[in-house]
């Protein structure tokens, strides 16, 4: 198949080249890759939306069959990782002293089989002091609960600090013939790649 003056590529209907392996079930997504001696990780995750972690007990999990290691922020010596877009907000990849969403990973259990990893993860015990959950902009502004000690009042971005005009008072709109105001709710958009980068 090649392009000619009479039948150029542009405008020609072309079947995808990647489809054969996809329609035959022969593609290799990350979980399809298996190598001899590979280990499996299971994560212990927070059941709380916002809480202080008061203790993490991994002793029982460490002794379970097939377990190669049980890892926490402390055992790995993790330093808080600042978000590129919000330098004020930094947390460890495994939660250290605080969890801020249901599902936040706290402990990583590595074992020789997925069943052994999952069984050992169930034998990790984490204690929590539950804090108020602050889940929307209005309550975050009104609440006494700061999600990050480094972010008083829960305001990470104040547009005035970036040189934008202060539109919070009445003066800014004083000369306008018509002013329109409203509250518009848009759901959070969280693009999630289907798979992460990986190698074997």
């Amino acid at each position: 198949m090649s392009a000619t003056a009479a039948e150029p590529w542009v405008g020609r209907r072309i079947k995808r080249k990647e489809d054969p392996r996809l329609i035959m079930g022969r593609a290799r997504y990350i979980d399809d890759i298996n190598v001899t001696g590979q280990l499996w990780a299971a994560f212990v995750r927070s059941p709380e939306a916002h809480a202080k972690i008061t203790s993490i007990d991994t002793s029982e999990a460490e002794g379970m069959p097939g377990v190669v290691g049980v890892f926490t922020a402390e055992s790995l010596g993790l330093a808080p990782d600042a978000s590129a877009w919000n330098p004020m907000v930094a947390s460890t990849l495994l939660a250290s002293d605080r969890v801020r969403y249901v599902g936040e990973p706290i402990v990583a259990v590595v074992a020789e089989s997925v069943e052994q990893a999952v069984d050992a993860a169930e034998m990790v015990f984490v204690d929590y002091d539950v804090l108020d959950a602050v889940v929307d902009v209005e309550s975050a502004l009104a609440s006494d609960t700061a999600l990050f000690d480094s972010v008083p009042g829960n305001v990470v971005v104040d547009s005035v600090a970036f040189g934008m005009p202060d539109v919070s008072g009445d003066d800014f709109f004083a000369d306008c013939e018509v002013t329109v105001s409203g509250t518009f709710v848009n759901q959070r958009v969280a693009p999630c790649p289907m798979e992460t980068r990986s190698a074997a």
Binding site: D19, P20, I23, M24, G25, Y29, D32, N34, E115
Partner: protein, 155 residues
């Protein structure tokens, strides 16, 4: 191995046996024990249908079955539906009609569609959409999937 049970079943025409834990899901038996990774896990809730295979000729969600429940049965996975050079009409149709993008839901879509066409060889568009209600796709918007199934029914 903690409390193992021997299971035997025919998978894509070949007899397979293994010692498994009773809690092992059929999808994990197919993917991990047998290495047939064409069947996918797409959710934790039985919603998505990416795990659809045929058990004794009927479409089932293999994530919601234990391997032990398939003992003595005949299982067909996407790998058993068609081969290079001898694709199933549904596989040809999905390719021809751009019924896939990332391809993750595709094996499940094809297996569910194959079951539909066995039961109802000339479905209406509505019947196709109804039959595929248990299969989710994040990429295509379903439009070309439906076209592909209808085209396969004409083949």
């Amino acid at each position: 191995m903690a409390g193992s049970v021997r299971v035997s079943m025919s998978v894509n025409g070949a007899q397979q046996s293994a010692d498994v834990e009773p809690r092992l899901l059929l999808v994990h038996f197919l993917r991990e024990t047998l290495g047939l990774t064409g069947t996918h896990v797409g959710c934790d809730t039985s919603n998505c249908g990416a795990c659809t295979v045929h058990l004794n000729g009927e479409a089932v969600k293999s994530c919601t079955l234990l391997a032990v429940q398939a003992d003595g049965a005949e299982v067909t996975t996407i790998e058993g539906l068609g081969q290079e050079g001898a694709l199933h009409p549904l596989q040809e149709a999905f390719w021809e009609h751009h019924g896939l993008q990332c391809g993750y839901c595709t094996p499940g879509m094809i297996m569910a569609s194959a079951d539909l066409l066995e039961r109802n060889p000339k479905p209406s568009e509505e019947e196709v959409r109804e039959a595929l209600a248990g299969n989710l796709c994040r990429c295509t918007g379903y439009h070309n999937i439906v076209k592909a199934v209808l085209a396969a029914s004409e083949a």
